[in-house]
Symmetry: C2
Subunit: 671 residues, 2 copies
Amino acid sequence: MPDTVQVVFTPSGKRGQIAAGKSVLEAAQQLGVDLDTVCGGRGLCDRCQIDLSAGEFAKFGITSDPSHLSPPSAAEREFFGADAKPQRRLGCQAKLLGDAVIDIPPESQAHRQVVRKRADVHGITLGPAVRLHYAEVPEPNMHEPSGDLQRLLDALEFEWGLRDLHCDFHVLAALQPALREGKWKVTAAVHAERDVIGVWPGLKSEAFGVAVDVGSTTIAAHLCDLVSGEARAAGGRMNPQIRFGEDLMSRVSYAMMNPGGEADMTRAVREALQGLIEEVAGEAKVAPEDILDLVLVGNPVMHHLLLGINPVELGGAPFALATDAAVTARASDLELRVHPGARAYLLPCIAGHVGADAAAATLSEAPHAREEITLVVDVGTNAELVLGNSHRMVAASSPTGPAFEGAQISGGQRAAPGAIERVRIDRETLEPRFRVIGCEAWSDEKSFAENAQVTGICGSGIIEVIAELFLAGVIKSDGVIDGAAAEKSARVLPDGKTWCYLLHRDEKKKDSPLIRITQNDVRAIQLAKAALYAGARLLMDKLGIEKLERIRLAGAFGAHIDVKYAMVLGMIPDCELAHVTSAGNAAGAGAIITLLDKTARLEIEDTVRRIEKIETAIEPKFQEHFVDALAIPHKSAAYENLRKEVDLPAPSMGADGEASGRPRRRSRRRN
Amino acid sequence: MPDTVQVVFTPSGKRGQIAAGKSVLEAAQQLGVDLDTVCGGRGLCDRCQIDLSAGEFAKFGITSDPSHLSPPSAAEREFFGADAKPQRRLGCQAKLLGDAVIDIPPESQAHRQVVRKRADVHGITLGPAVRLHYAEVPEPNMHEPSGDLQRLLDALEFEWGLRDLHCDFHVLAALQPALREGKWKVTAAVHAERDVIGVWPGLKSEAFGVAVDVGSTTIAAHLCDLVSGEARAAGGRMNPQIRFGEDLMSRVSYAMMNPGGEADMTRAVREALQGLIEEVAGEAKVAPEDILDLVLVGNPVMHHLLLGINPVELGGAPFALATDAAVTARASDLELRVHPGARAYLLPCIAGHVGADAAAATLSEAPHAREEITLVVDVGTNAELVLGNSHRMVAASSPTGPAFEGAQISGGQRAAPGAIERVRIDRETLEPRFRVIGCEAWSDEKSFAENAQVTGICGSGIIEVIAELFLAGVIKSDGVIDGAAAEKSARVLPDGKTWCYLLHRDEKKKDSPLIRITQNDVRAIQLAKAALYAGARLLMDKLGIEKLERIRLAGAFGAHIDVKYAMVLGMIPDCELAHVTSAGNAAGAGAIITLLDKTARLEIEDTVRRIEKIETAIEPKFQEHFVDALAIPHKSAAYENLRKEVDLPAPSMGADGEASGRPRRRSRRRN
């Protein structure tokens, strides 16, 4: 056996001379190669698997051969059993006897890229805040008496380089039994390389975390394996706070009007969260006690209620957050019954109306890490807007109101089975075709009547029907439903002093709802879309730009909306149509990233600090943009581009022959 | 008005040129003079009171006059009212208009010496771990939105220099209401210059702490004002764990024999602690919510049970502590209902049998801060021994058993009213005289029969009666009760194969106990005193010394024992009688020091780390010293010195004429 051997690691390409007889794991650690281990190289866990690449490697000048590693150890024979492949070895067991090229498969990298399947997430580098560390602790002896905790901390420092660890209070009582049951071998869970939050006898190689997006309407959770990075289960449930108020502001009002009302809402959301955590844990066959970390995101009101903070200050100017920093709490502080040492991390809120959910979406969409200017839009009761790139970021919220969510619309409802979500209107006959959530068929197809139950119209349906009515000439550029269209179709009906459009009425079904588009509905959507546009335009002013390079529409609204119709309505500023895309559940994805990669916490905390917060309510330009944007469509290069691609009327071709309703409205404002 | 004025502060003597118009408080801060303030110089608190010294000060070359300070402000007129003295001012209000000599009275020093009255403590420099800080927080505004917490933290940094503060979870919910109720003026309680643990609207200038000595038998608490350093109330109660076992080892046995038994004992002691805290708070008219800090000391078993740690490991070799470091917990972790952010600090245990109480006694007696070699002894079920000086410290526990506490003695009882505590025996007639706790009269005085109720004999009484019986020739040097003495007195009676001495029997009272000293009682005391002596002697061996310069006897035992009799029995090693003194409740005093002065925490943690821990059970020399020390008295220079002072028999003058029982016992051990 030579004194030293030449070792090359792939795919990193790291190489060096290693003393013969060292294990592959030791060689990797010496050369700074990322090879995972939980047991610290004792052949107990399976995390350090490697592949020997056999052959002559001219570029490295070495010959690599299976015989250059020591024969499989008892631990390896037991672990691989009959399925043993000659090249696959445990890095801690295989000792280097000669030159070798060692491949680290992706799953053996401690900081591997994790590609999510069930959640729409970019590649994530695994590095959770809570890690498991196996340690062999010296037994106590009477010659050098010392505390069991001190010997554990010494072992964690010696074996894992963890210095100045602090120990959670509850661990004190669990420590001595664990050390003795494990025969002085234990696994410690360490949070943020600082706090020992749990200890188990022997080797423990499983730890889990849950990422939760606490929305006003629904709570969605993903349970992830913190060791492998794998998503193991997902689930959702209604936010039971709905019984205190449908939208955010009505919940804030509930807290204002009812002493202790905020505590009722806090209790409700925490109980739902506990139930959801138990549900996803059950689905993944994971004990709640094995959940060691939580990441929670939500809008400012949800964020405050979750923390037990009365949200009343968010209900009125100056909309002061209790804290604009990230919060690391104990899960038990939130009355969640998982592992007693589990932590809960809440991303920072950006401003009084731009929440931790927007921060999570920002983390996921990463405008701060790109050169191109990106607008991230999350539409709920307010639209939360984050705009910028690696040089500068601004954020604001726009008071869209809940119209985009189907609220305050005559036939409106939340996006749920039975809701009309797609609408087409014949430009001549004004007859509609539509599709409802939960049924693939269009309303003029045969299978529709058999399968579909129409209950109302959701946000994306309202946007489409209003855009289609505009394109068909029924709605004029100033938003007025044109009574003249009644001559073309009996669906255009008088409604008091205004007109309405009858979208749906199934005479054969007794309970079938009457779904009309009223003048008020059009006004609500006009106000909402003008607010959204004006908020985005204000942020563009701040950056001094006229055109966006990329728009990402986050959340359920962004996933369902047809971008073309958003453009027809004039909801969003100029951007090439191809670069306006849905970001899916970006807030949830950001929560998962934060759960699996603790460096994301520093990244988003730093980004949120750097974001310039704009308050639309005190910006005179906002009001100006708002009024300019009330017309359908408003004059924009994007709309002009769209016209070239698809058959759209010019902005000046509204039924009243005017370019838009702008001049009149503007003069009204000036009075 | 001159541009600058000359200011001299007394008693510090610090002086300098100060810009005219600055306040005395600003001048003090500029010159590094210790002048207290809670409100930060706003005339709201009364902590910065100063006295102007009027006159010509030749040594400083200045003339100081009341007119050299600005006239009393409205705040001062309101505060001092009719009692105003011309020289007494508030430092933050009085502005320097001319040269001045300013005296800082002791009570206005932030780090003043506190001399305790009700607890036996040396002067303490006030510097509690929890301090109150008044701050004026900028209001939120929409132009620069930021969280309320961040503005509070900025204010605390700006006004008080407190950086990188962390905020307790429960404070988040309390913060916004406090800021608004206090009109953006709040007082924050900060622990260890690191954690914001509470926040109150407006100025709060009162904060309290409780120091508790959790003994196996009694729990004693002192409530202190953390702002003034004053002791405000004290109280004690029985440790209810007594129902699980009289002494420590029987409680450990209870935990071993009964699953969950340790939790019962934890609950019992915490409930008693809560009751005691409420009692002392009530006595001082303090709300439990105003208690912000706790310091707790106790032996290792009490320490572990208080923390909810099963003490079984302390019941057998190697006597491993769960932790040998200090523990800072939340009071709520210990299920104590005081302020929700209150902390609880437990001093470190020194070793498996040498507890946080011994550490506290060490802190109070401070051998580590002296040149002279000091032995600190705390006698309970074990004797905890700490020996050394500023150069080197050693510690051990000696298995004295509970005989010194009156247990395992035929007529023995705890030191409580009715217990015989002082005994004299006539050398000729062998008639006793004694005194009981709770009555000033001796038993041969007239008022004794009217006032005293004899119930048993406590530790100090046992030591005196055995020493007196030895001095009277009834007990021989080897501890045998000499039947020949029966010829002198009918009080010496046969008792099976041995003899006993009848100390007390009141024939007139029906329930009066028969109090005898049996051969077994003598043996128990012999074993106990030999263990105590041998432990101390072993530590002296470690330091290589033959004689002690100072012995401090801590605890109730030390307070009651007559040192001369301890010397007669041979309980303690050679030391000049005048330097063997009671340390009072040294553990309780150490707890109070730790409560009032946070630097004491670092001091005792560092000292405990440096103490060399000696385990008597594995030291062959301990056994040797033990056997040598069984005789009464054993041969010692101290006894020889004592003989010269008082009329004592020579060691060789035991009734059997031998020097001691040593040779016989030693040979028995060698068999």
